[in-house]
Amino acid sequence: MSFNLLIFVSLTYVAFLFGVAFWAEKKAQTTLAEWLSGPVIYTLSLSIYCTAWTFYGAVGYAARSGLEYVTIYLGPTLVMVGWWWILRRLVRIARAQRITSIADLISSRFGKSGWLGMIVTVMAVTAATPYIALQLKSVTQSFSVFATTSGGPWEQADLNTSALWVAVGLAIFTVLFGTRSVDANERHSGIVIAIAVEAVVKLVALVAVGVFVIWGLAGGPSAVLAQIDASKIAHFEPQGGRWVAIIFLSAAAFICLPRMFQVLVVENPDERNLHMASWAFPVYLMLMSLFVLPIAVVGLQLMPEGSNPDLFVLTLPMSQGENGLAMLAFLGGFSSATSMVIVSTIALATMVSNHIIVPLWLKVRPQGALVSGDIRYVNVLARRLSIAGILALGYLYFRISAGGAALAAIGLVSFSGAVQVLPALLGAIFWRGATRVGAGLGLVTGFAVWIWTLYIPSFGADALLSQDVLTNGPFGLWWLRPNALFGLEGMDQLVHGLLWSLLLNALVFFVGSVFSFPLPLERFQGVQFVNVFEMSPDTTTWTNSEARADDLLIMAQRILGGTEAQALFQKAAAEQGKEGYLPDVTPDFVLRLERELAGSVGAATAHAMVGQLTQGAAISVEDLIAVADEAAQILEYSNELEAKSAEQDRTARALREANTKLTAISIQKDAFLSQISHELRTPMTSIRSFSEILREADLSPKEHVKYAGIIHDEALRLTRLLDDLLDLSVLENGQVTLHVHTGQLDDLLDRAIDAAGGQNGGLRILRNRDREDIALTTDLDRLVQVFVNVIANAQKYCTLDDPTLRINVRQLNGRNVIDFVDNGSGISVENQSMIFEKFARFEDEGQAGGAGLGLAICREILGRLGGEISYDPLQNGAAFRVTLPENSAVVKDAPLLAIQ
């Protein structure tokens, strides 16, 4: 097979890819758009994870270390299967914040920090350079295979020349398709389709070689298994932690590699694509690794001693005369290399342009965002230059490390460099406490340790560092030896470097975050990132904008282009209900504009540019407080509502209680009225009947006197009743005026006994005058009235032959208490609670001769005076206890005792 044919096929293939990409870009606007952005294409585009390293290197890896190669595909499988944990979050955040790259994500999360974006960009470029060199190397090696068979063997100079041409060709292709649109969020549908096609080509090629090897050369699966058991890699010998370390490394790199972040997150048009990719991509990975071990084993057996196992995929079919298959394998490897390089350079160029070139360009032109020309032009140019620059770097690395380590070793070093972003990335999306300072320090630390322990040694001894430094440490500092940091000796170099770099990285990140204080914007972004699922997009409201809409439009036009910018502004104006092009510069609008711009130039730059125009430049603490205030107001309002409803509940309850009380009172009032009527009617009836009798003439004078006496008695009784009622009413309404004087208790009791008819009624009264020597200052007349009532009660109700009333004065709990105890039968238990109520009479009415208001009046009087009267059920007879007012001068501002 001639080398020229190979060149022809390669160019044809590239032309075909151009065609596909053009076609896809055209169709992106039509009905096919949905399919083009669907899960199938998405899954296939992820296949850029499988680079030439996989296509050629995996077989070499397997031929050297057996099964270990498979770990590189196990990690990504775990990430995809567990996409719910990290990828879903990343995709959601990237869409909400219009993230353009992994550097943009870190920068945006930590307060749109330009510095962080720059650090991540530098790290990413450094880590990716060997990887790009690796692709150039594998493509040139595969060229050289064909060149060897068709003519003389290639010299190093031939390899260099072909590598240069490959690099130039890739640069042209990438520039043509990768920088046609500036908005990275406007997805590169052409590129995506092209790499999807390449994904299919490389899978088909590898599977074809595998099938040919298993069934064509080895004689079936069981024969292959037997050959494996007989080969030098028959034993499964995982080396000290490498197995676990590489699974972890590949999983982390799958997320952190700039090109993977590009296809996984940035180019992902729909979160639901992950549902399918979560199982379909692992299928792809499994198929890619399924035939690796058989090819390696059969290659080891059939190929001559000393042939490069990295090229078995190509050389094995060729040695069997299968030129067509070899050509397919070549195209597979070519596809793997080119697709990786294209996406990688686009991702890196976006980062370099957005985080290094454009910010610098803005800085050196002091006029600021408003008058500094068309940013779009700068941006596109920056990206094109970046693409060329990155490929140049890769070529340079290829030249320096020519003939260096095996493909797999370079790949793993590159991976370890890329995953230094992992702590900051996970912190960014899961931990609100992560700060800019911590992230920056962690990244730099991890990067430095990686450079020292993995990157520099990867060039080999005496390339960048002398053998002496490698074995004894710099300046004889034994604990700084690149392969035994802090004296940790005897470890596998990859595990050692990975462990130290990530450990120190994470530690410094954590400590730095804990001990630093974030800027307001960092905290704001932290919430937006970490709580992305609780946030509705655009939840901010802050008012600091003094920009004019036309200024913003001028700036936006230079970044987005005239038509797009005007459409955006017009739409915003329409949403605000305004005519014309210029919307009001509301905080919402500024935020939205900033996000749109971030899609083109990255969050940090967009923020800086909008900030220049809106004066504020950043969210101030006041703005945050304003937002917090608004939230607090809403909270307060809802609390108020709650309080109001609680208050209404209380009011309703109080109303219900009042209603119950009123009903009860109304019933009592009715009862009282009927009682009163009854009380009034009885004497009235007798008065009327006796006066009728008197009207009849034929009465003897004696009868006359008798009936007149009855009428008089009844009238007196009526008067007394009315007096009592009036008295009670006055007392109850609190209208009574008290006449306060000072007097002796014994005098008062003397007066009371006299008024009650003394001991003439047959009642014997026992007293202890010594104890009654108490001075009282109160309304003495009222107090006497109480005593009279109580004594009169004893006179009335104590029906014994020898009625006795003991009046006992004592001190009880510091108050003067007077017990009036008779020797009668007392009051039955069930009536005791009723005796102080109005009209409470339980015994013979006639004998009592009162309306039953006496004790009620007593209670009212004592209530007024600040004392009380109660019935003492523990004595033998009826016992009333009068507790005198404390220093009885107090006229209580007593409550209005309603009729109860």
Binding site: A234, F236, H275
Partner: protein
């Protein structure tokens, strides 16, 4: 948000739980061969690793297809994390 869910959404959440556990199960299964005292042959380990791979893929496919079908049916926002 209700405390107790209807049967369908309850199932959906448990499916998501399975999906969350799956990577850890896969990781443990895949590092298992390195823990054996006497290391088995490459061919045996190879077969084992690919078997685990297929089981993971099949489980993931079943779960995700069901989840996306339900999401399409009800247009439920699947973002809530409980």
């Amino acid at each position: 948000m209700p405390v107790y869910l209807a049967r369908a959404s309850y199932r959906q959440r448990r499916l998501r739980d399975v999906m969350r556990v799956l990577p850890f199960v896969g990781f443990l299964a895949w590092i298992m061969p390195t823990m054996a005292g006497i290391l088995p042959a490459s061919s045996t380990v190879g077969l084992y690793i690919f078997a685990v791979w297929m089981i993971l893929i099949a489980s993931s496919a079943l779960i995700n297809r069901r989840l996306i079908r339900q999401a399409d049916d009800s247009l439920v926002d699947t973002s809530s994390t409980a």
